[in-house]
Symmetry: C2
Subunit: 344 residues, 2 copies
C-alpha cells in the first residue's frame, strides 16, 4: 500500500499540498467545490495528517498531561479513580486527549525528570495535577517557564504564576461539619483529619478547630487524630482512638468519606454501633456513601463539574495565556443519611 500523505492526497485530488492542508484545517479561503472534492478524497482514503508533521510545523498536540500523585495505591480508591475519568471525559468534550502519569510524589529526581521530559519534549499542551502538596517547587518551576498548569487543591497566591490555574475546596468545610454536629446536640466530638500537607488538609484542620472554638467544644488531644486520605488510614486512626477506651466521643468527624469508611470497619470490629453509640460524618460525597450500612452523612462536592471546569479553564489558557492566576473554590452540600443521630 502506497504511503498516504498530503502529497498523495494532493495528487489524487489534483491540487497542491497547500490546498490539502487548507481543507484539512478548515480554512475559509477554499471554494466549496474544491473543499468538497478534496474532502471526498480525504474521507475515501481515511487520511489523517501525521501528528509529527503537524507538530513540527507548529500545531499544538491537542493533548493534556494528567499527573496523578499518590503515595498510596490509588488503584483501590474509587474517589481518586473517578478523577481520571472526569479529566479524560472533560478533555474529550473539547477534543483533547489525556496522557496519564501516576507518580508517588513530585520530589524524587526520577519523578521530576519524568514530568519535565513530558513537558520539554512538547508531548502536551498543558498539564493537570492532582494529589499535590501545597509546596511543589516543580509546579512553580514549570509554570514560570511558561507552561500551562491546572492543579487540583493548590493555593499559592504568593507565587503569582499567571498560567497556574487551580480549583480548591472551600476552606470552611470543617467548621460546617462542627456546626452540623453541634446542631444535633453533640459536644463530645472527635476529628480525624489528614496529616498531609495538601492545601485542603491544612485548611480543614484549621476550620475544624475554629468550629470547635466557636461552639465552645472541649478540644481533647486524644480526639484530634491524624490519618491520611485512604480508608486504611482511617481504620488505623480510629483503632488508635479507641485504644484503651476511656471515654468515647459521641461523634467522629472524618476529613473525607474514605477515611470514614475505615472508621466504620474499626467501629464494627470493636462492636460499637453506628449511629447508636457513635455518629459519623464524612466529607466528599463518595459513591459508596449511600450503599454502606448505615448510609454515610457527608458534605458532598460535585467533583465532576469541577474537574470539567478545571479542564476547560486549562484548555482556554492554552489558546490565550491568562495574565493573572486563577482559582475557583468548590462548595460542599450536606447530604444527610443515616450515620448521625441526635443527642438529647
Amino acid at each position: 500500500m502506497k504511503e498516504l500523505n498530503s502529497t498523495e492526497i494532493a495528487r489524487l485530488a489534483g491540487v497542491s499540498r497547500s490546498t490539502v492542508s487548507r481543507v484539512v484545517n478548515g480554512y475559509a479561503n477554499v471554494p466549496p467545490e474544491t473543499r468538497d472534492h478534496v474532502m471526498k478524497i480525504i474521507n475515501e482514503n481515511e487520511y489523517y495528517p501525521l501528528l509529527s508533521g503537524q507538530l513540527l510545523a507548529g500545531k499544538r498536540t491537542g493533548t493534556l498531561g494528567f499527573f496523578w500523585i499518590s503515595d498510596a495505591s490509588i488503584a483501590s480508591d474509587t474517589q481518586s479513580s473517578s478523577f481520571v475519568v472526569h479529566v479524560t471525559e472533560g478533555a474529550a468534550s473539547h477534543g483533547y486527549l489525556i496522557l496519564t502519569s501516576i507518580l508517588k510524589n513530585l520530589t524524587d529526581e526520577d519523578n521530576i525528570n519524568w514530568v519535565k521530559r513530558i513537558f520539554l519534549q512538547k508531548r502536551i499542551d498543558a498539564g493537570i495535577f492532582v494529589g499535590v502538596s501545597n509546596d511543589e517547587p516543580l509546579l512553580d518551576d514549570l509554570a514560570s517557564r511558561g507552561n500551562i498548569i491546572g492543579v487540583f487543591d493548590y493555593y499559592r497566591p504568593d507565587k503569582n504564576a499567571p498560567n497556574l490555574i487551580s480549583i480548591n475546596f472551600e476552606t470552611d468545610t470543617g467548621s460546617k461539619v462542627i456546626d452540623y454536629a453541634c446542631g444535633l446536640g453533640h459536644r463530645k466530638i472527635a476529628v480525624i483529619n489528614s496529616g498531609l500537607n495538601h492545601y485542603s488538609s491544612m485548611t480543614r484542620r484549621q476550620s475544624f478547630l475554629a468550629g470547635m472554638k466557636k461552639h465552645n467544644i472541649e478540644i481533647r488531644e486524644k480526639w484530634m487524630c491524624n490519618a491520611g486520605i485512604s480508608e486504611e488510614s482511617g481504620y488505623k486512626a480510629c483503632k488508635e482512638l479507641l485504644g484503651n477506651r476511656g471515654e468515647l466521643p459521641t461523634i467522629i468527624c472524618a476529613n473525607n468519606d474514605s477515611v470514614a469508611f475505615g472508621v466504620y470497619s474499626a467501629l464494627r470490629e470493636e462492636g460499637i454501633s453506628i449511629p447508636d453509640q457513635i455518629s459519623i460524618t464524612g466529607i466528599d460525597g463518595h459513591v459508596r456513601a449511600k450503599t454502606i450500612v448505615p448510609p454515610l452523612t457527608s458534605f458532598a462536592f460535585n467533583f465532576k463539574s469541577f474537574f470539567y471546569s478545571l479542564v476547560s479553564r486549562t484548555i482556554a489558557a492554552i489558546a490565550a495565556k491568562p495574565d493573572n492566576p486563577a482559582t475557583e473554590f468548590l462548595h460542599s452540600e450536606l447530604v444527610e443519611r443515616g450515620s448521625c443521630r441526635r443527642i438529647e
Copy 2:
C-alpha cells in the same frame, strides 16, 4: 531565552548535530570523553529532543493508547478504575506513556473515527482495549492494517490476526463456582450472569450451566438472571429475582463482585440475611469484597499481574511483530470469606 534545540546543543558542545543525536540515543560509536562532555551540556540545559522532530525522523512515540469501553459510568466502579492504573503503571515500568480514551462503544461512527484518528495520526505505537464485546470489527480492521492491538477479554482465533494480543479469563469459572456451592450442600442455586456479549460473559454462562448439569442441579428459568457487570445491574436483577417471592434459592452466584454487591443491597432491603438465609458468591476479587459485611467469598483474579503481562506483551510486539496471535488465560483462586454457609 534562545530556543533550545540540537543545533544549539551542538554549538555549545562544539560538535555536530549528528553527534548530539548519537549521544542522546546512546549509540556506541561515541568516545566516552565526547559522550560525557555532550551529556554535561545536555543536562545543564535540560535538553530533551522535541518529540515531533524525532517522530518525523522515524522514531516511535513511546506511547500506548488505552481505550476503555463502557456504556455505564465507569467513574464509580473501583474494579474497572483499577485497570487504568495497572495499565498506566505497567506501561511506565517500560518507559511508556498512556494516552487514555473513554468510549461508550466501538460501533458509533464518532467513536470509530476517534479511535482511528489516534492510530492513523500515529499518536501511539499500539493500543490496549478493555471492555469490548467479542465481535468488534474495528479491532479486526485495525489489526489487519498492521496496528498492534492488546485486548482484555477478547477471543477470536478465527480472525487469525497475528498482531492482536489478548488476555482472557479462564472459561470454567462458572463451573468452579457451582462445584463450590454444591460442595457446601446447596441445591437451590440462582445465577446472576452478565447478559453482555463479552467473551467472558458468554463463556461464563455456558460454564455455569455446565456445572449445574454436572451436579444435576435443577435449572429454573426464574433463577437464571441477567444483569450487566455493575453494582446497579446486580441490584436490579436481584430485586426481580425476589419479586413476588415464591421459593427462594439458598445461594446466589453472581458473575462478578460488583454485581454481588448489588445483590447485598437488594437482600438487605428485603430483610434477607447473608449468609443465614441466602449465601452469595462473587467473581473477581474486588478490593471491597473484604470490607463489605459479611465479607464476600469470591473467585479472585490477579488483574494487576495480568494487565502488566498484557502491556509487556503488547510492547514487545511493537519492536518485533509477532507472527501468530497470542492469548493468555487468567486463572481464578477461591477466596473464602463470610458470605456462604454450609447447608446440612
